[in-house]
Structure formats: structure tokens, C-alpha cells
Symmetry: none
Subunit: 295 residues, 2 copies
DNA sequence: GCTAGAATGCCCGAATTGGACGTTTTAGCG
DNA sequence: CGCTAAAACGTCCAATTCGGGCATTCTAGC
């Protein structure tokens, strides 16, 4: 793993000549920084973005410092990956799981598709285990650790690079899971999706009281606040949620909620926008960012 | 803030070699003054001018002491990086924190030094916040998310080396935090250290009952089991621990314990080996692996 | 089938980079 | 105040990258 890549590194990683890479950089398709002597330096995030954008295939992932573990069986797309990821996580093979997901992401699969598909599928299966036995708890914990590692890896490479940080101020989003809800993954995925969409994402993680979220809102002045619930018992009551949404509205922030914890009956909680998938969340982020820029 | 910088400070701040920096200084592109003995000294404002003039990207702003005006001095090594990491995490700048720690690791700092130094320092400061107020909880959650991202990133680049020692079967280690202990970081660091040491590390994460660890031991037949406690109230009683250690011994596994949760009086819990630092853990892992290979 | 334009890969001399080396200076400490 | 470890010195060299020229391949479009 290197802090930044040289043209040769990236060229060999994607299997093209160094000349082509230099031309792409000179034409502006690939953002590069320069050393004082004029040598090109490429950030890993930017390399990942470019690979996806140009639909290149990576022949040497190791040159990018990314996991290279082979998946036991060939996986073509995110849909087929659901079963495979579940198996790998249940088997405790974190490395293979990470490698597979990173490969899919590099291959162009949208982050939301990976989250709504394989990760959601796997977490759903895993979540049912811990009811049964101490052994179920063991497998669930092992798999959850792996899933968190996968999402964190994606978060590290999908985060928007410093391509144009100053041109437009990034909008800010804040979120977490409510108090009593110990599941970190859902909120982590929200933060990752927001970061990929170019937002400044502040994740407070699991078990965050609404009062703490209020302080985060005061500090960061976000345009958006997400609240992701995985445990029904910990989900705030309708009144508390409505009051929270009103507080946010006073700060110019919008509340979005989602997750398994939400009561199905409550199609649209007062003052909060209910989302059913990461794809919907990403879409909302795009809209909101567009509106903010237009204003 | 430091009055002037050494060539190494500035070189690391902009992510180039010391040689290049010296050459730039000698060519006149960067103005330097000299000490009586001939060592180069770079004024901070000259460093800033040069960076902007050459359009360089600053990869470690902390070395310039710029982000926080009250930073007393530049940060050079892992020992002095503690303050910088704490500030970055408290400020919520996850990206800068991750970048700094990755740089230090790539620069040759041992993983254990980063964990025992900056991470431990930061977590200690952060851990005291949540007692006070909802705002403290907010800052603590935000900082903890950042710290977890940092450790996960280090785990990704340190724990999945392509150089896989296929010749000898990797020894296995299993671990987690006890039931009722919700802190994931300590166990995550253990897993990372073990993975870097060439072990097959299985992390069950926070809030893991001893019975679930027993199942993990049956399944993985580890040589080593770690139990890291951050919450004193959740730490198992002396008898339960002794019994657990005996169970492990029957499976040929050794129990090591550590963390803030351990009662200070209990210098050496029955049947368990108490460790005070990640460095000790790493040393134990090396010894154990050597013994296993010799056998 | 043919051709013009675009994209790609390879080659070159010049310039840049990063690491190694033994020696000298600095800074921290008793 | 002297001592010692760490840091910086100057110098060298192999490896890498630069920019540009040139031939080849690919792709439309006629």
C-alpha cells in the first residue's frame, strides 16, 4: 500500500501503457497532482474513481494496495454476490469477503447496489442467528466483524477524493443509530454513501441519544440528518421523533429515517422522510446537493 | 507553533523524500536559512509560500502546525503524534486522522507503537468525555467513529499482506470483549496486531459472552484467546475467568487478558496472562508462533 | 473496401526522485 | 559541562518519470 500512486503503478494495475495513462492525465480525465519537479502523483481514491468511470478492469489489484484474495467461486454481479458474501461472512473469511466486494466496486457496481444487495442480504441472515444459541452468537459476531471490515474498506476507497474541495463547499450530513441500538453497520453505510456522494459525512455511530445528535446539528449545521434503526425496541416514539424533526427544521436540517426497526405501520413518520434503501438515500443526497448548489 | 522546520518535517508534510527537499533548497526554489553548523532551517511562512507556489498537496498538515493554532510543536514520531491524533479526532476530522496514521505506519512506525501511543492516548481522552453531557457524548461518538475508521484502515493495509506465508500453516487466535462491554476498538486492535504478526485472527468484537467464545474455540482450535475489557462493570468475575481459562487449556489454547477494565489489584488473574500493552501482545504472539513452528 | 481521425504502445535523451553512505551537527539528559 | 543518540550534512547512484516523436491499431463513416 502506498500513499499515492505513480503513473506506472496505475498503468500496470489496469494493464495499459504508461503513455496512455499520461495522456489521460493530461487530458483531464484523470486528476493528478504534481511534485515540485513535475512528476505526476495519483491519489488512491482518485484512481478508484477513474477506474470505475472509465470502466477499466483491474488486472493487478495488489499494486493499488487493495485486497486481492480470490473468491472461491466466480461472481459476476451484485445479485449473485449476495449468496457468496453471506457464505464468506458466515465462514469467517473476512479477507475473501473484502476482496470480492472491492472487486465488484471497482468493476463499476454502485455502492448502493452493494449495500442494498449483498450486505443487506448477509446482515439479514446473520441477524437471525443470535436468537438461537451461544454458537449462533459466535457466528453472528464473527460475521458482523467481517461485514464492518468490508464496509470500512469501501468507505476508505469510495470516499470522495480532494478533487475539487474548494470549488463548492461540501454539504454536511450527520447521523447515527438511536440510543439502545448497538448496530453500527447501518449508520456506517449511510456515512459511506454520503461521503461518496460528495458530502461531508459525520457519523456518530450506534447508541447515540437524540440529544447528542442535537449537539452535532448545532455544531455542524448539516443539511441532512439520518437516523438508522436496527432494533425496534430502541426506536424512538412517534412524539419524540416528531419533536426531533421540528428541532432539526429550525436548524435548516431535514430528517431521514430508515432501517428494520421502523414499524411497518408508520408509512411516513411525522416530519421525517422514511427511506427503504440506500439507493433512495443516495438519490435524496443528490437532489439535496443540487438544490443547495442552485440556491 | 514551531518557529522553523527541519527538512525532514517539511518533506514528510508534503510527502516527498528528504533528498528531494534538500535539492529544492539547494536549487533556490525553496529559501532556507542555515544554522552555524550548516543545517537547513525553513521558516513556516516560507514553507507555506513554497507549497502554494509549487502547487504541492500537503498530506500531513499537522507537521506544519497549521490546523490548530495552539498546537505547541510539530509532530515527528508516534510518541509526539498522540496530541495531534487526539486533536484531529476531537475535531471530527476523520480523514486527516486516518491519513496521518497511515503515513506513520507506511513510514515504518510499528503498529504496536501507534496503538500504544496515539490511539491509546486519544481513546483515553475521548473516554472521559461522555460522563459529562450530551455534547460530550456527541464528541465522543464522533471521535470513536473516527478512531474505528483509523484502526480498520490500518487493519486493511497491515493485516492483509499479499506476502502470505503459505509454507507454514498460520496459527489461529480468537478474541473479543466480554458481554456488556460495548467497546469495539480494543479487540479490533488485538485482531489487527495478530493479523500483522501472521496469525489468522478471528475477532468476535464487543459484547461477546464467554460461552460464545467457547464455541469459537471449539470451531477454530486457536492457540491463543484474547479478552479485552474496557468496562470494569462488565469484566468477568475471578472464578468465571479461571474456569474459562481452564476450558481453554483443555483445548490447548492460552488466555491473555488486558484493558482498562481489569482490576489493578489482580496482577495475574488465575490461569490468564495479563498484558499491559499491544507491544507485549505482539511479543507474546511472536513467541507463541515460534514455539508452534518449532513443535 | 477504403480512409481519415483518434487512440494506443513504444522509444529516446534529459530531468527528477528516493535511498544509501560515512561524517558532522544538534539536542536532550545526567 | 560533557556525553550520547538522533538528526542532518554532502555526495553519490540506480531507478523512475518527463515530454515528445513516431509507428501501429482501432473505429467510424462513406
Amino acid at each position: 500500500m502506498k500513499a499515492s500512486l505513480s503513473p506506472r503503478d496505475l498503468a500496470q494495475a489496469v494493464g495499459v501503457s504508461e503513455s496512455s495513462l499520461k495522456r489521460w492525465a493530461d487530458s483531464g480525465r484523470l486528476n493528478v497532482s504534481r511534485t515540485a519537479g513535475g512528476h505526476r502523483r495519483i491519489a488512491v481514491n482518485e484512481a478508484v474513481r477513474f477506474i470505475r468511470d472509465a470502466e477499466l478492469s483491474v488486472v493487478r489489484p495488489d499494486l493499488l494496495g487493495l485486497p486481492t484474495a480470490d473468491t472461491p467461486r466466480a461472481v459476476r454481479g451484485p445479485t449473485e454476490a449476495s449468496e457468496a458474501l453471506t457464505e464468506l461472512l458466515l465462514a469467517g473469511d473476512t479477507q475473501a469477503a473484502t476482496g470480492m466486494m472491492v472487486r465488484l466496486y471497482l468493476g463499476g457496481a454502485p455502492l448502493t447496489e452493494l449495500f442494498d444487495g449483498p450486505i443487506r442480504h448477509a446482515m439479514h441472515h446473520i441477524g437471525e442467528l443470535w436468537h438461537h444459541s451461544a454458537e449462533g452468537v459466535f457466528i453472528e459476531h464473527r460475521a458482523t466483524d467481517g461485514a464492518i471490515a468490508v464496509v470500512n474498506q469501501l468507505r476508505a476507497i469510495a470516499g470522495f477524493p480532494g478533487a475539487d474541495p474548494e470549488s463548492t463547499q461540501r454539504p454536511c450530513a450527520v447521523g447515527g443509530a438511536p440510543a439502545g441500538d448497538a448496530y453500527t453497520i447501518a449508520s456506517l453505510m449511510c456515512a459511506t454513501v454520503a461521503a461518496e456522494a460528495g458530502w461531508n459525512a459525520v457519523n456518530l455511530g450506534a447508541n447515540t441519544p437524540l440529544d447528542s445528535l442535537r449537539h452535532a446539528v448545532e455544531r455542524h449545521q448539516p443539511k441532512l440528518v439520518w437516523l438508522s434503526g436496527s432494533v425496534p425496541e430502541a426506536w424512538p416514539g412517534r412524539e419524540a421523533l416528531a419533536e426531533f424533526a421540528q428541532d432539526l427544521a429550525r436548524h435548516g436540517a431535514r430528517l431521514v429515517v430508515g432501517g428494520q426497526a421502523l414499524p411497518e405501520s408508520d408509512a411516513d413518520p411525522a416530519g421525517a422522510h422514511r427511506l427503504e434503501s440506500m439507493a433512495q438515500f443516495a438519490e435524496l443526497l443528490r437532489e439535496q446537493a443540487r438544490d443547495a448548489n442552485a440556491a
